[in-house]
Symmetry: C2
Subunit: 432 residues, 2 copies
């Protein structure tokens, strides 16, 4: 895997002939993949974001641009998802990235000086509609922020019993629902369900009164594994293609009543939103950094040297219905997570569980150490006890109908950003 | 939906020209669907079991046998899974069943007297290899046996706190792993993982010492639902195509250490086995019966009149490596389940969660009221405290390497059985 620090596609000095502002999430150092279409009935295609444009990678493949890579003439961009490309492995990822990076450089005339080719493969973002990038087979949600687990544990069980005894040994995770993972921009109806009754009375039934967001990120599995064959922690990186922003919408009152003893279910599976652009691990490589100290040291199957965290600043903003603008209510960072992605994947498969290209593994809520970095309303309002005052007026314990939650995040380079765009969605009133 | 008691395809007097013994699981009253192939590299086809033969339904479709049904000329059997047929809805299911039933009757000459047609569409079972019948999008596992929940709760928390407060209100369920659902006959390696430590020591890591089976059944979703649109309990039956036997293999020591607070994960997802033949709800209709009394009465969204249980006798047998034969260690019945399939599906979607054709929803362990009807080693050996004495000698607390577990089940009609065949699998030694 091209983890060399001098990967030429990551060079901070690289510039594209496509204009890219310093605040853009999509400079030539990023090159995230997505699925798009131009008109509603048109076939989906695969693209790479560059500035305010989408580069049509399916069209490039049609024209043979990747024939000199390890793919040869094999088609991996000829579908409505990234799955075939994900399955093709890290050598293909790296070589395709090198071809695209070269093609977009300001000192490379091939595309820059061919107006006809430019017109057919560079499409203004305003003219495309993004689609789900990946066909997700299984969705797993981890619980890898020690701060989040501590906050929730403190609220539910008191400060002395906040962390469960397994937390510092096990990268705790659970299976989520793949069918209800939706693309950014999808609005969700407030879920209906049962919540905790008073004493022996029947449980109340109706629209959730505690709808929440969860600030998360997730990675997509590249090549899969065979049932019964664990992926070692050393091999894990070769199975991780790239990352997206995730909002794991939650209904805390439904969750609280239902989750014993088998875990969250209807409190979660009414919708999980992801951002449309998948940022490759190769683009994130320069932003690797040290994660939290792990003490006690992890068991050998979870031990690995080197920087396992990534410095990705993340913000959550909330915009109430009729409000003038969105207000930032949380600033956190992916590097806070206690368990790394490699540890998550090694743990997930150590029992022989198989994974498939396109599986989504989310981090769990990414809360930081300070109250303004908590990644959910549950924590920001401390279980509803301390309403969050919105800077522009108003307050929130949980989300109200019409509230729009938007998560954005990026790695800050020297004069450029390797960003994730955003994942956004609105809570609509409960259906009657 | 053809729930009329006088559905002609369910008539006990029907006979096929294909010889079927009274003990066969596959008389003309059953007609379960599966996916098979004859040679290893051949394309998979869809078949219906009849006695010791497989009727090639894909070949029948090729020849236009279903052109007069609501399907018209639309191909639904032209793939490697039942998903397109599942999605086609109950009118198509019923009309296709009627065509196949008529074709196989002893008083219908069309196939009976056409040796050439018989040779090309009736294949001896010994010559086919069964494949996964359905491409499973999401797998949900419920916890619908009150007896099982009580037994496990008694072991873990004592008799007075055995059932969680939500149990009699909520059809508790959780998301399982779709990738590791495997076909009957697949052997599984003993999983490796962490288990509970003594005090503050590091958790032991190694092969599970408490591998278990779980006697379950599951249903496949037919037509899906849209995100945000619940399936009402009255509509639920139109979304349930048919059922299979399920063995939800479990590693109790891994599960016990990991499951707080988000539920079972690696203790379950190393493998879940299903039987190859999917028995349609239409074939099971004559065996509907009353389920347990639900007291307190369920909330309105879970309330429905009529017989919701099904009288399906189920047996689990165990065969140790080198043993002379399999020994029955559990006899239970699907009718014991507290929560019905319609209640499970209505609950699953009440919050707006969508379902897709081919989703698998399993019952949870089907334990009956008596100790010989407990559906797991955990219960049969009462947490390992009372080893199970095998009738032919030897004893078990949990499963040993080389143990083969086989689950079978059928509805007993008057002189015939509507059966499920079996789901079987062996525990292999842990991989090194």
């Amino acid at each position: 895997m091209s983890s060399e620090m001098n990967n030429p596609t990551n060079d901070a000095a690289l510039r594209s002939f496509v204009p890219v502002s310093p605040e853009s999430h999509f400079p030539i150092q990023n090159l995230p993949y997505g699925v798009f279409r131009c008109a509603h009935n048109e076939r989906s295609r695969i693209g790479v974001a560059i500035g305010e444009f989408v580069l049509d990678v399916t069209a490039l493949e049609d024209r043979g641009f990747f024939d000199q890579t390890v793919l040869g003439g094999r088609r991996v961009f000829d579908g409505s998802s990234l799955n075939a490309f994900l399955a093709s492995g890290h050598t293909a990822w790296s070589e395709v990235r090198a071809v695209i990076s070269r093609l977009l450089r300001d000192d490379e005339p091939r595309l820059r000086d061919d107006a006809g080719l430019r017109d057919s493969v560079l499409i203004p973002m305003g003219r495309v509609e993004m689609r789900m990038p990946v066909a997700i087979g299984d969705y797993t949600d981890f619980y890898s922020s020690r701060e989040h687990a501590t906050n929730v544990g403190t609220m539910f069980r008191g400060k002395d019993n906040a962390l469960m005894p397994n937390y510092l040994w096990v990268p705790v995770g659970y299976h989520g629902r793949a069918s209800s993972v939706v693309l950014s921009g999808t609005d969700l109806h407030r879920p209906v369900g049962q919540s905790s009754p008073d004493g022996n009375a029947a449980p109340p039934f109706g629209p959730s009164q505690a709808v929440d967001f969860e600030l998360e990120m997730g990675f997509f599995v590249g090549p899969g594994s065979e049932l019964g064959r664990p992926i070692s922690i050393e091999e894990a990186r070769e199975h991780i293609f790239g990352m997206v922003l995730v909002n794991d919408w939650s209904a805390r009152d439904i969750q609280k009543w239902e989750y014993v003893p088998l875990g969250p279910f209807l409190g979660k599976n009414f919708g999980t939103s992801i951002s449309p652009w998948v940022v490759s691990m190769e683009a994130l490589e320069p932003f690797r950094c040290e994660g939290p100290v792990q003490e006690p040291g992890p068991l050998p199957y979870l031990s690995i040297q080197g920087n396992q965290a990534i410095d990705i600043g993340i913000e959550v903003s909330l915009r109430g219905e009729g409000s003038d603008g969105a207000e930032v209510i949380c600033r956190s960072n992916f590097r806070h997570l206690y368990w790394s992605m490699a540890q998550q994947l090694a743990h997930h498969t150590v029992n022989g569980c198989d994974v498939r290209p396109g599986d989504l593994m989310a981090s769990g809520t990414i809360s930081g150490p300070t109250p303004d970095s908590y990644g959910s309303m549950l924590e920001l309002s401390w279980g509803g006890q301390k309403p969050v005052t919105l800077p522009g007026g108003g307050e929130r314990r949980f989300l109200e109908d019409g509230d729009r939650v938007t998560i954005t995040g990026w790695c800050q380079g020297d004069g450029y950003r390797v960003g994730f765009g955003e994942v956004t969605g609105r809570i609509l009133p409960a259906r009657r």
